[in-house]
């Protein structure tokens, strides 16, 4: 008996929705077996990683806090991925956005009005977009692969952050530790919206999810992005500019990453230091694929990934698995969702 792949005439709608769910379920099952085989409490591990964060209400705020930047970044990345523009440098744009926002804060320590948040956030968006403009420029002018350039720029951004917090922006009252001065009260957003567990970033992510949904499903631009990705020659025929799509998707995804960066800095950390980069930009790529590049899917996938982060930390204290476990579960999930893709386009036939 052999299993053969047979191409479907049309992508399966059912599989499109079923495979992400199946990926999560299989991650849980494989994870349980794997961790048991490695000598840990497999069931306990998956319970803590996937279920405790949902069941324990006091963990909701942590999940929401982790989910906000992931969703914001992944919304932008999904748009580009639909056009087959692969921005994998969101981590760098996230840092660049935070730096640009912090620059505004750094220049305006005396401003006591909360309105200063607005220019900070705008600067964050622009900073992220500017960092993404470099690969966009190189791609459209010189046909340079954006995967490579955006990835390289992550490491340049990391060094830039390191330079600023150990050098010119170092807090003079910080006992010489590598960090900027804390933002002033006016420059800070609250950790969460008063009376709730929801961080401001998640509200913005929700609103933007609706906006992206509208754009992707209802606007000509959303159509253009999909056509450029799926059928470049048809797109040319229809008069859609491939270069314009590269520019717009990279600027939008960079801007979203920058927005996530400055919101994280001003609502959660309250300053910048060497520990600021947290790999959200890379994890958001998993979120984007797990969410099937759809804004609503991305929102849900962002929460699922946030759950594995939070749960991974819980599992360390309760079932004593190493911190690397969370990463293994995330990688497994991404492998399975990518493998599941094949079922959308093909059917399995037994011969």
């Amino acid at each position: 008996m052999r299993i053969k792949l047979e191409k479907r005439a049309e992508p399966s709608r059912f599989m499109l929705f079923a495979t992400p769910v199946a990926a999560v379920v299989f991650t849980i099952l494989i994870g349980a077996v794997l961790f048991d085989a490695l000598g840990y409490d497999g069931l306990g591990t998956v319970k803590e990683i996937f279920f405790t964060p949902i069941l324990a209400s006091y963990k909701w705020q942590d999940v929401a806090t982790k989910a906000a930047p992931l969703i914001l970044i992944a919304l932008g990345l999904s748009l580009g991925n639909q056009a087959k523009v692969w921005n994998i440098g969101a981590e760098g744009q996230y840092i660049a956005g935070a730096l640009a926002g912090a620059l505004v804060a750094y220049l305006t320590p005396g401003v006591a009005s909360h309105w200063i948040i607005i220019p900070m956030v705008i600067a964050g968006v622009l900073g992220g977009a500017a960092w993404a403009a470099i690969p966009a420029f190189l791609k459209t002018k010189l046909n340079v692969n954006e995967v490579l350039t955006s990835l390289m720029l992550v490491y340049v951004a990391l060094q830039l952050l390191s330079y600023l917090v150990t050098g010119p922006w170092k807090d003079p009252n910080g006992h010489n530790f590598p960090q900027t001065a804390p933002f002033t009260d006016a420059q800070l957003l609250p950790h969460s919206i008063a009376g709730t567990f929801i961080p401001p970033g998640l509200v913005i992510a929700f609103v933007l999810m609706l906006a992206f949904w509208l754009v992707v499903s209802r606007s000509v631009y959303g159509f253009q992005v999909r056509v450029v990705g799926a059928a470049p020659s048809a797109a040319r025929y229809a008069g859609f500019s491939a270069n314009g799509t590269v520019w717009s998707t990279l600027l939008i995804s960079g801007g979203m990453a920058g927005l996530a960066g400055i919101l994280e800095a001003t609502s959660q950390l309250g300053q910048l230091n060497l520990g600021f980069p947290s790999n959200y930009g890379f994890t958001a790529i998993i979120v984007s694929f797990l969410g099937r590049l759809h804004p609503v899917g991305v929102f849900i996938a962002g929460i699922v990934l946030a759950i594995t982060y939070v749960g991974g930390q819980v599992a360390q204290t309760t079932v004593h698995v190493p911190s690397a476990s969370g990463g293994i579960f995330q990688a497994l999930m991404l492998f399975l969702i990518l493998a599941g893709d094949v079922l959308v386009r093909y059917r399995l036939v037994l011969k």
Partner: protein
């Protein structure tokens, strides 16, 4: 500056460049076949822990290196099956491989922290390997010569043999290679396995040659520099060697500058140089040749013969 001083500096540069060169050589072959595998860092760490663990158990570093290569190749097959047989996205799959390798090496390595292993002995007589002058040629770990032999073999195969021609054809135009009867998928599988094996060996260089020990994430991001190096070299084997030693020389130069109290640019500038240089080179070669033909034309694209 004495001869001895210069020779010592060269020895340092060669030592620090070798693992990057090893990993980049593997990735070069992978990319030449039209596949982009971003999981180098993860495969290196798998190689580092496997090489260490096997050497620790067998007391034989040669077995350790072979095991590291095998482990690197094995873990790269996860990537291979996904992107080749199931047609999944290469960028995302490669990143997942990097995450998996970092996590898995940590889990496997938990019991090996603080252990020590026997080291390679020199393959040349001590008269040569410890000679103040001749050590510049004979004074390295055997892995250094293996790395050089492999890169020269790869360069030769790529440029002067039929196998290399086929590999490049698969990377440049998979559909025509397919139509004249070559197995695009089969060739790419082999390229990915080779890339994994090389990354594995590169990882074992950290845990067995530079510092014979195991520590989590001990490759400290060299896998990403290897990716930058392939780009910097413009997908050419000869430039890969030059680029690897140039990257190593830059880092060493910075260390000398610091130790001599001579520092006219912040160290972060130097640390970001490999990446900036890779971007600049990429831009320059693309500017010279608007078709971007230096990069394999099919790089990162799935092979879809029926669509």
């Amino acid at each position: 500056m004495t001869m001895d001083f210069i020779i010592s500096a060269i020895v340092t540069v060669v030592g620090i460049s070798t693992p990057i060169l090893l990993a980049a050589t593997g990735e070069l072959v992978v990319e030449k076949s039209g596949v982009l595998n971003l999981g180098v860092e993860g495969m290196m760490l798998i190689g580092a822990i496997t090489g260490f663990a096997v050497t620790f158990t067998t007391f034989n570093p040669w077995l350790g290196v072979i095991a590291a290569a095998a482990a690197g190749a094995a873990v790269s097959m996860v990537f291979g099956v996904l992107v080749l047989s199931l047609g999944s996205n290469q960028v995302a799959t490669g990143l997942a491989l990097a995450i998996l390798g970092i996590g898995l090496s940590t889990l496997i390595g938990a019991g090996f922290t603080g252990m020590i292993v026997p080291q390679f002995s020199s393959i040349f007589p001590s008269v040569l390997s410890h000679d103040p002058f001749w050590r510049v040629i004979f004074g390295y770990s055997p892995m250094v010569y293996i790395a050089l032999a492999i890169i020269f073999a790869v360069g030769w195969v790529l440029n002067y043999t039929r196998a290399g021609l086929v590999l490049r054809a698969v990377g440049e135009n998979d559909l025509s290679a397919h139509s004249i009867g070559y197995s695009v998928i089969g060739i790419r599988y082999m390229a990915i396995a080779f890339g994994g094996a090389m990354a594995g060996i590169a990882g074992s260089y950290f845990s067995m040659v530079i510092t014979p020990m195991w520590a989590e994430r001990m490759t400290a991001g060299r896998g990403w520099i290897a990716l930058a190096l392939v780009v910097f070299a413009g997908w050419k084997a000869g430039r890969l060697v030059i680029g690897a030693y140039l990257f190593g020389a830059l880092m060493t130069l910075e260390l000398y500058a610091k130790a001599s109290g001579f520092q006219f640019l912040p160290s972060q500038f130097w640390a970001s140089m490999p990446y900036i240089m890779a971007i600049v080179v990429l831009a320059v070669i693309s500017y010279r040749d608007r078709t971007g033909s230096e990069a394999p034309a099919c790089l990162g694209k799935p092979f879809l013969p029926n669509s």
